[in-house]
Structures are given as C-alpha cells and as structure tokens.
C-alpha cells in the first residue's frame, strides 16, 4: 500500500490487485446483505453486488480516505439496488428459468437448533416482507446502514419528510406484524 506523505489510508488512484481483493473481501458480505434485503432475492443480489463493486473500484479516483470507503461503497450499493427496483417496475426482464439456490453446507447444529433458527429467520424475514420496497429500503438504510435521514432521502430521491413517513409506516407495520405473530 503506497501512501502519499501526510495522508492516511491508501493511494486510491492505483489500487493493486491485492488491495482490490482486500477491499472486496472486507466489504462483500455486508454489501451483499444490504442489497439482498432491498431486492429480496439471491440471484439479483449477486448480480447487483458485483455491479456495485465494479462501479466502486472503477472510480478509485473518488476514493480519498479509507475510513470513508465503506460508506461510499454502501452508497453505490444501495443506489444500484434502488435503480434496479425502479427499472424492474418498467422493463420486464422476466426470467422463465428458475435458478437453483446454492445448497447450504452442513453445520454442527442439532436438528432442533436448525429448525428453531430457520423458524426465527422466517419470522423476522416475514416482517420485512410485509413492507413496500421503499419502506424496506428506508428502514435498511436508516437502521442497518445507520445513515441519517437526509442521506436516506438523497438516495431514495425524495424529501426528508417522505423518508420519515416511510420509516414510520415501515416500523408501525413491522410492529403490527410481530404482534400478530406473537398472538
């Protein structure tokens, strides 16, 4: 990692292959999960994750500071996912061929533990599933990415008031969903 005198972080204008690999490895899971929760399916999330990293690494000149790199990458990732949702509403790329989900590797858990974990995941994922795309995206950016409401508004291309409305409606829906499931 080469450094200009007095600077922190790496020389973003010429990341080596190793640096690129490290950047990808350190952020891949987080970015994938963010996109997956926005778009709701693994195949699209894979495609969009790759797209986001390629976009990010092709704009290395915009990367001034390693500390901000994760945030900047998240912005690219969420924008990529949001653009995808927008396009999906207008252009039909229906894929008639179902792609199989990758098979999980076995872990050292008892059948009961596996069932409980699956049930809990299904319970929580069901909650996100009752939200609209914009509500879910707003909540993920606010609660998971910890972005301030102003930035969420910028990414969703709407006003701060609208974002607050999405967040509020999303949380109320979630609350009601959990209450229904509990009862």
């Amino acid at each position: 990692m080469s450094e200009a005198p007095g600077s922190t972080g790496f020389d973003a204008t010429s990341l080596s292959s190793d640096q690129q690999t490290r950047f990808v490895n350190e952020n891949l899971r987080r970015v994938f999960l963010l996109i997956y929760r926005i778009v709701g399916n693994v195949p699209d999330a894979q495609d969009l994750t790759q797209e986001a990293f390629i976009k990010a690494l092709q704009r290395q000149d915009q990367l001034k500071d390693l500390d901000k790199a994760a945030h900047w990458l998240s912005r690219i990732a969420s924008n990529t996912a949001i653009d995808f949702l927008r396009r999906a509403g207008r252009v039909n790329f229906s894929d008639l061929e179902d792609l199989p989900e990758p098979v999980a590797k076995s872990r050292e858990e008892s059948p009961e533990e596996l069932l409980l974990r699956a049930e809990r995941r299904e319970y929580l994922e069901g909650g996100l599933g009752v939200l609209t795309d914009r509500e879910r995206t707003a909540l993920l950016l606010r609660d998971v990415e910890d972005l301030p409401a102003e930035e969420v508004a910028a990414r969703l291309n709407c006003s701060k008031a609208t974002v607050r409305s999405h967040i509020a409606n999303g949380r109320v829906k979630l609350r009601r969903y959990f209450e229904r499931r509990k009862s």
Binding site: D83, N92, S94, L96
Partner: protein, 358 residues
C-alpha cells in the same frame, strides 16, 4: 501415362491464376446502380474438370430510387446447372437514403466447369424498402428473408431505445453488454446437412423432439420425431397446430440438439411452406439428414417464424427472448449484431447517436 500427366500438369499451370471474367447485371429500372467495383484478388484456378472461382469483390452501389433501402440481396453465380455454382450476398439493416452510396462485399468460392470461360455474374435478387415493399425477381426467396430481418431490426432497435429511455445510459450499456455475452456464448458445433437418406450403418432409433413453447407463437409443434443413428439425425417429421386466428402459409422450425455433455446447440432451421387454417393442424416433413461432431443425446424444436396468408409475419418478441434458454439458442438479429459492433467501435455515445437515427 507420362505424357498424359504432363498435359494435365501443363493444363493446370496454364489455367491457374487465370483472371476472372465478371459481369454485374442490374435491370434498367433497378433501384440501385453500380458506382464502382473492385475485384481485387479474385481469380480462377483449375482443378480437375472445373474452375474454382475465388471471388473477392467490393462493389459500391447507389440508391437511385425515391425510397430508403433497408436490405439488398445479390445473387453471385458461376453456373446454374451443377451444385457449387451459386451463392448470394445479403446486407440486412441497411439505411440507404435516396442518393446514398453503400458498399457490398463479396467473398465466395464457386465452381464452374472447364470448357467455358471462368466467369461470374452478379445479379440483383431483391431490394427491400423502408415501407417493406420489394423489388426484384426473388429467385432466392430473399424477399421473405429480408422482411424478417427488417422486422427483427425494428424490434431490437425499439428494445434498445426503450432501454435508454427508461433505464438511462447505464441500462442501455448493460443491455448491450448482455447482448455481447449472448453472442459469444453461442457455441457452433460442426454440422453437415445432406439431402436424402442417411448412409449411416449404425442402428437407428426413433426419437421424439422435446417441444419448446414460445407462449405467444401462433403455431405450435404438437409432436416431432426423427431417426437417430450415432451422430446423425434424419427424416424429421413434425405435426403443427395453428392456434391463431389467421391462415398460416409459412413457418420455420428450429432444430436444437443436446450432446452427451448436456450442451445445447441450434443445429438447423427447417423452413416450410404450409397451408394451415386457423385452429387446424398440419405436417412438416423433410427428407434430409444432419450430422454432428458428437453423438446426439436428445433433440428439441420450436417454431421461430410464422408467415401468414396476408403477407405479415410473426417473430419472437424481446419478452420471449428474455427466457434464458431461448436466448442462448436463437442468434441475435443482424441489427443487434450491428449495434453491438458500433458499441465496441464507438462506445456508448456512438451507439446512442446511431439509435437516434431511427
């Protein structure tokens, strides 16, 4: 014997590299006129009792009509009697306005019996205009072929323009790159097609085609069989059903093979002139054999083109082509290949500029 060989050799030397007599013959009322021609490295070489005519020509033609020309087909002929004497060159996706000059490249090897001059004749088989009207003798059925290419061109241009409109430059770029990937992913097996019965001595078995359905296709194959022996399939026979509301006069059935590694290829296209009323069924039978480079595991077929009695056609929509399997099998249209080439050469701005012309 020695004197015969000597004469033969002398004859070969005398005939090899002979200059090629050529003729470009357009009718007086032809919508295109020859501006210039360059026959470059064209030559005639004698082999046995025939001339092999290597034709490498660049023609410049001018659109002298009042309409835009969208396609042209030239027949290139050394002789019409024996096989190997005839070829053709088609330019789909043309956009020649009245007065425009455009190039046509010919690269063919043809056969002509020794005993006459080594000569090749270029004739106009057909011109397709912007309004889908046609001029020409249509000996090679170029009218239908060019009309279909033009329909595909309009479909695909519309698709890419809509991508640009709805998804912006990024969306268009993604669509073009997907097309490049699609073009590169279409593997081409070695295929031989022979008329008549197979001479394969392997035991043969009747195999049914798996039928692929394109949902909006007005004609659907309902059954299909062929005989397979080793790596050869022959005598395809299909029953088709017209589920539309218009009489059908023409269709093309595309023949897909799967080898033992599970790879699928579009092997051949079976055009057929038919007469099937709405709601009725018909048959398509061919006395032909296809040989492949590897043993055939299974076969599939689908109707890729339908021609109606009123002269209109059906081709798959872009929505149908979003099916991953069909997308791998059906070749991108000439227009799509032209647009991707423009993208490779001139980048996204060049492509956008090209799309704006239509």
């Amino acid at each position: 014997m020695r004197s015969s060989i000597a004469i033969f050799v002398l004859a070969c030397f005398a005939a090899d590299g002979q200059s090629l007599s050529r003729k470009v013959d357009f009718p007086a009322d032809s919508p295109v006129a020859l501006v210039s021609d360059d026959w470059g490295d064209s030559s005639a070489n004698a082999r046995g009792g025939a001339f092999f005519l290597d034709v490498h020509a660049s023609l410049s033609l001018r659109n002298v009509s009042q309409k835009r020309v969208r396609g042209i087909t030239l027949s290139v002929s050394a002789q019409d009697i024996a096989p190997g004497g005839k070829g053709s060159v088609s330019i789909p996706s043309l956009d020649a306005a009245p007065g425009d000059v455009f190039p046509v490249r010919i690269d063919l090897r043809l056969l002509r019996p020794i005993g006459s001059n080594a000569a090749v004749e270029v004739k106009l088989d057909g011109i397709l205009f912007d309004d889908l009207s046609f001029y020409g003798p249509d000996v090679l059925h170029s009218h239908r072929r060019m009309a279909l290419w033009e329909l595909e061109a309009r479909r695909d241009r519309q698709y890419f323009k809509k991508l640009l409109e709805t998804a912006g430059r990024d969306g268009l770029q993604k669509g073009i790159i997907e097309s490049l990937a699609r073009q590169a992913d279409r593997a081409q097996p070695g295929v031989q097609m022979a008329r008549g019965r197979s001479t394969n001595a392997d035991p043969e078995r009747d195999v049914a085609f798996a039928l692929l359905e394109i949902p909006e296709a007005p004609v659907q194959p309902t059954s299909g069989t062929a005989k397979i022996a080793g790596n050869e399939a022959h005598a395809p026979h299909f029953e088709i059903h017209n589920r539309g509301d218009r009489p059908v006069r023409y269709l093309e059935i595309d023949w897909v093979i799967k080898d033992r590694q599970g790879r699928e290829f579009l092997a051949a296209s079976m055009p057929a002139d038919v007469s099937v009323a709405p709601g009725r069924s018909g048959e398509v039978v061919e006395d032909a054999a296809l040989r492949f480079t590897a043993p055939v595991e299974s076969m599939s077929a689908f109707v890729s083109t339908v021609g109606f009695a009123d002269g209109s056609y059906w081709i798959p929509t872009r929505a149908s082509l979003s099916d991953a399997r069909l997308r791998k099998l059906i070749a991108p249209s000439p227009e799509e290949q032209r647009l991707t080439q423009i993208y490779l050469k001139k980048g996204l701005p060049g492509l956008i500029e090209e799309l704006k012309k239509f």
